[in-house]
Amino acid sequence: MTPWLIFGAKAVGGLACQMGVGPAFTIVERRVAAWIQGRVGPNRVGPLGLFQPLADLVKFISKEQIVPADADRVLFLLGPLLVFAPPIFGFCVIPYGNMIGDEHLQIANLPIGVLFVMSVISTGVYGMMLGGWASNNKYALLGSLRASAQIISYELSLGLAILIAVMMSSSLDLNVIVEQQAGKGFGAWNVFGGGHLSQLPSGLLGFGLMFICALAENNRLPFDLSECEAELVGGYHTEYSSMSLGVFMLSEYLSMILMCGLMTSIYLGGWSFPGITDPSDHSILAGLISWAVFMTKILSMMFVYVWIRWTLPRFKYNQLMDLGWKAFLPASLVNIALLAVIGVMGV
């Protein structure tokens, strides 16, 4: 009985991180967008407009669900769900806090967590492809083709960027990776070389590459070519309405959270922050503090996402592909070679 209870509590906690922050972040996105454009943004629903996501939800639910006449009904309705599920699966292995007692604050403690997240992330593209294809709409099809080509291209560099952190920590277990970075100051964070000054350039480059690839993976501006309004109406979700559109939107935020969680865990020290968290303290209070640190890190990264989105114009498709294949891929390969040499020489 007790293991199940503990598991349930951990699952609820983990889901709450994601499902709570996801909708809440839509309001942050809209407010920040407004501020950058010199507007005020939605501030009418509830205090400071904080209940806007609820109003959005009511709107999404109360709209009619339209399935185009010639669309493949089953695949059309399956599309959003297939996009929605992977980020939630992926978040299972992200450690969202220090241990409480003997329990890791992590829904499932997989020894190959990094691989699991990577494989799960890449399945998200199927939902987009199915949705775009089943819509029986040229724009949707083009959008989904672009999305899949983009995601698959950037997955390579993303994987290599993740590999940098894995090489520094010599582990695929996210818990181990985080614990190695915890409690030893900023220098121990993988982005700053994971405790070895000689690895600092690799860490910085790896983190930079991973950050940009994550933008591309999540189809965020400046890489949101799969849904660019000017050319493709709405991209792969052109034909979607009502809650299935809402699910597409929400999953964008969920996968952002997953990406930021992964980046935080493998590069930015996860739930640890020098001076605030103590990795050897396994009390409930310390666990909550580490959880708060983790969430703060995720939220700040997502804020940077939003900030970038409303700063940079969209890339052209050839620029996107050039950047992915001709700049990021060689850069990551060189970075890996460099790190390997440094590691072998043992500097």
């Binding site: 501020w35 950058i36 010199g38 005020v40 501030n43 970038i308 700063t311 700049a327």
Partner: protein, 159 residues
């Protein structure tokens, strides 16, 4: 925009390998762009939350008209038609009648202004020899029909 704002624009020649590479990857441009948007983000906004916060009109704002009254509560207008003549939009319509007071000959029986035609130029106010009409600072006008938009003498007196 000042010239020093344009870090990363093409006219700045980067020096050295690292600077050139970063420039090629748009790093300086991206950073300066983000600095700019951050400035906008924290800048105070000009928007007023309208129904709760009303804009304070500057002095001399020209809004709805008002027909003025003197100390004894008599309307000042003597139905001289100066305002009707001066009005470029021809939206004033006065019907004159004999004055109930001995110190003047005429007084308006009806005084209509079509607020939909009015361009709020203030010529009527300037033309009036008796200082009897003026434009108030009320800029919100609510009505549910066209007829309501034609203000009659009572409406104008009560403004």
């Amino acid at each position: 925009m000042a010239n020093d704002d344009r870090v990363g624009s093409r006219d700045v020649e980067p020096k050295g390998f690292l600077a050139k590479t970063l420039m090629k990857l748009y790093v300086p441009s991206v950073l300066s762009g983000m600095k700019k948007t951050m400035e906008y983000m924290i800048r105070p906004k000009a928007t007023l939350q309208y129904p709760e916060v009303k804009r304070v009109t500057r002095k001399g704002y020209r809004g709805e008209h008002r027909l003025k009254q003197d100390e004894q509560g008599r309307m000042k207008c003597v139905a001289c038609f100066m305002c009707q003549t001066a009005c470029p939009a021809e939206c004033i319509e006065i019907t004159a009648g004999p004055s109930p007071w001995p110190d003047r000959d005429k007084a308006p029986v009806q005084f209509r202004i079509d607020m939909m035609k009015c361009i709020y130029c203030g010529m009527c106010e300037e033309a009036c020899p008796c200082d009897a009409i003026e434009l108030t600072e009320t800029y919100t006008q609510v009505s549910t029909s066209r007829e309501e938009k034609i203000y009659d003498i009572n409406r104008l007196l009560s403004n």
